[in-house]
Subunit: 514 residues, 2 copies
């Protein structure tokens, strides 16, 4: 593997050439033709796929994730690079706005104003442990950063160090072959190296996927720099699920199957794993739950640190008073520190849950979920609001009439209340499904109030993620030859634009119906 084209740094001292190259690349990379940037993203995707036979075994070995999952994850990673290529070519993300000069504007003569979004400059992206492809070197954040036209400095995760470096080599080669300027991509390793990069004045934004503790540390660093910069961390989430009595009656066993599969998939090491499931008391589902959990094949946890953390948290939760174990899966680390685990599901009555030690309301990273047994659906919203902070997702399982809107009005009102509560506190509200398996699409929202993220203004999955690495610039009375293409009158790129015509303020208060 030739690495002469790959910029790397494994200590803070080695960072200088990486940062200097990133800063030098900012302007030429921003100026690269959109078609060339898009082609580069597609070339990275192609090269990843071509190297799958080499990369997937490395990932398997380093993370213990199953081959099928990793194959799917690599495919997702390639697809999201191609999706961002489409975003770049389309240009709608630039939010181009044109105000025509207007002598009759409500506030007096209005100049010609044109505004679009441009790349912020070099960005450091901290890779995740649990997605060695999709949230790592060539993952979603990286795709969004490169698509935005920002030089990318990836901090590889130590949990899959060899894979990171191998992926970085593939990306760097493709970037070079696609004509990206030197400095548009670099790979760094080590926590101190990452922190030093985030502190450097040439870096203009950060992104991260990982724990609340690490994410908060980095967010604080970004905010306390002499020049504060935006930091987009995706942290912890417990993803509450609420099953109504009607849904339980109509689809109880199907819900159990789906739930246990969602809790157990990838050994529960997913940020959208349903951590708390609110089910009517007296559900009678202990047996099906145990049966479903027992059918899930043992799966390795990512690394010994996570294995240790899972076992400790699990023991504490299961030994709490009022917690009833429904099925106790494997969780003990073996001699090498790794653990082959199977799902554990426990239950608690809602009143006990409410009054429990707040630790019981926190995330358990691994294949565990706590069933919270409620008496009346009206008790659920207040419990969710009191027990949890922000979450990536919230899910409702409804009965047929509830979904169709033909249930009694009082019941529909409760569902509206629950939906409104979830919309206030999570990024994505799901119905009759499971939150794991996040679609990469234009309307996806993977975010949520703290501590789901450090910054809830955007998403880390889906095409809207590109907005995190852009800033607006307006041009006033600019000559055509000094305007970016998307703002030129002739619109040579054919991007979608909002045009406010001269005379628009004359119609204010007319012509609009609510």
């Amino acid at each position: 593997m030739s690495q002469t084209h790959l910029l790397i740094a494994d200590t803070p001292e080695a960072l200088e050439p990486v940062l200097a190259a990133a800063a030098a690349a900012a302007q030429p990379f921003a100026a690269l033709a959109p078609a060339a940037r898009a082609a580069g993203l597609c070339l990275i995707a192609e090269r990843l796929e071509q190297n799958a036979d080499r990369l997937i075994p490395l990932a398997q070995q380093e993370t213990g994730l199953a081959e099928a999952r990793l194959t799917g994850e690599l495919k997702r990673t390639a697809v999201q690079l191609r999706l961002f290529a489409e975003v770049v070519l389309d240009g709608g993300y630039l939010d181009a706005r044109l105000d025509q000069a207007d002598p009759r504007y409500a506030l007096g003569v209005r100049p010609d104003l044109r505004r679009s979004l441009r790349p912020v400059g070099p960005v450091v992206n901290f890779s995740a442990s649990n997605f060695p492809f999709a949230f790592s070197v060539a993952g979603g954040d990286s795709a969004a950063i490169l698509a935005a036209g920002c030089p990318l400095i990836v901090k590889g995760h130590s949990g899959h160090g060899e894979l990171s470096l191998a992926t970085a080599d593939v990306v760097a080669t493709a970037a070079r072959d696609a004509g990206f300027p030197t400095g548009a991509f670099a790979h760094i390793t080590g926590q101190e190296t990452g922190v030093a990069a985030l502190r450097d004045p040439r870096v203009q934004a950060g992104s991260f996927t990982g724990s609340i503790a690490a994410g908060r540390l980095l967010a604080d660093i970004a905010a306390s720099r002499p020049q504060p910069i935006p930091f987009f961390g995706e942290l912890g989430s417990v993803n509450p699920v609420v099953v109504t009595p009607a849904a339980l009656a109509e689809r109880g066993e199907e819900i159990v199957e789906g739930c246990v599969a969602s809790v157990g998939g990838s050994a529960g090491q997913l940020c959208t794993k349903p951590g708390f499931v609110f089910i009517p008391a007296g559900h009678g589902l202990d047996e099906p739950i145990a049966a479903a959990a027992t059918q899930i094949a043992p799966h390795r946890l990512l690394n010994p640190r996570i294995a240790r953390g899972y076992e400790e948290r699990l023991q504490r939760v299961l030994s709490a008073s009022d917690v009833r174990t429904i099925v106790r899966g494997d969780s003990e680390p073996s001699v090498d520190g790794n653990a082959l685990v199977t799902p554990t599901i426990a239950a608690i009555a809602l009143a006990d849950f409410t009054s429990a030690d707040p630790q019981l309301h926190e995330e358990v990273f691994g294949p565990f979920s706590l069933v919270v047994e409620y008496g009346d659906l009206s008790e659920v919203p207040v419990t969710i609001e009191a027990a949890f902070q922000g979450n990536l997702t919230g899910t409702l399982h409804l009965g047929e009439a509830e979904y169709a809107g033909t249930a009694p009005g009082e019941q529909l009102e409760r569902l509206r209340e629950l939906t409104a509560l979830l919309a206030r506190t999570v990024g994505r509200v799901l119905f009759n499904g499971w939150p794991t398996g996040v679609a990469v699409t234009p309307a996806q929202q993977h975010g949520g109030p703290w501590p789901a993220t450090t910054n809830d203004s955007s998403t880390s999955v889906g095409t809207a993620a590109i907005g995190r690495f852009l800033r607006p610039v307006a041009y006033q009375n600019a000559p055509e030859h000094l305007l970016p293409a998307e703002l030129q009158t002739a619109n040579p790129r054919g991007v979608r634009r909002s045009i406010d015509p001269a005379g628009s303020s004359l119609t204010w208060g007319r012509g609009h119906a609510s």
Copy 2:
């Protein structure tokens, strides 16, 4: 003036009812029909205009700003409330995105996903000293916050305390009459009160216009809360202007007139005042500059603190070696501490400017500007990059052939370089104009990299400002009756939406030209 309907707090201890009311108002205010929210904004505008005879003299007395300026500012304030009413009715700001369910999606079966933006919750807005209407109680930030559907807690500025309270009374009455829920608007005073509000967990965002020191303090508080929240501060800016040799030759005296008027307007107490003007050495304009400055009528500085600061900074700059005073205006505070001032303009050679104490590169708040005399235009970009951080604006004055694009290629290349530099470091790039007098329009951008703002992802002037107080929420496979109106299939509000049809991924890589 009846204040029974106006929620107020002048100490941290008095805050509780204000915060409790704001939190309680969040859901009903978010759920208020857009037409009702828009009507409320228009009613506030109307009532402000109806009370102009009472409010403008109060503002004059407290700020010393001229009547004509205050009349214009009140008009602007009313107009921007009406403009935001249009934004609310239009609904395009919701960025509604719909992914149709797609069994053939590139990543496997895709669910029905729909995403739009919703209000973040209660926001504290810190008023400015220098815009008692347009950036204060009923100003741009307030209009954007209410338009977004967020309860608004305004921290009034002590420099115009009576006006603030009188304005708050007008706003609160109009809000009540428009059917806004109690708690949708409150007025608080005192720095400690403002800080306590910003720290409260019920508050979800902050906005601010003022000094770098105060803005940084508040931004740090917002970032270091247990739940960090977004904080949008608009702070300091020196607004560099570059006059090319051709522009000087063709329009030298016209440029002097415009520049001095822009520097002297409102006694230079505008965040977009041109602080540094790069002109070719040997311009021979000292006399016209002095003549223009002398024609500007004396104008009071806002308050004794600003008057003291201006006099001190001015003396330090003028006494710096290599600084040549072109015209020395009045600046000394009188016995009451206030100062009636006229413009002061000085000059320095570019080489001396570059090597000067960095203090010389900082903002002087008041009617002062420093002319930087350059030998060759190619020296200017590197000087701007080295001397200044982020700015709200950057301006180029071009000659006719330069503007038309018919100047020699080498000269046009320099102009492209200068434009690119400004686009990297400012929020708005102007041509052949002056940055003061910020239009309130869809394409306006009033922001910029630190220290122009604490957060450069958005604007504090223009309709895009509403985006600061919104967060995205996606709905997956939701029944129609639980979706917000803008995401319902029938689109009852008729808002602009982006729809990604089923089968879209089949055309990736085709059908797009760059």
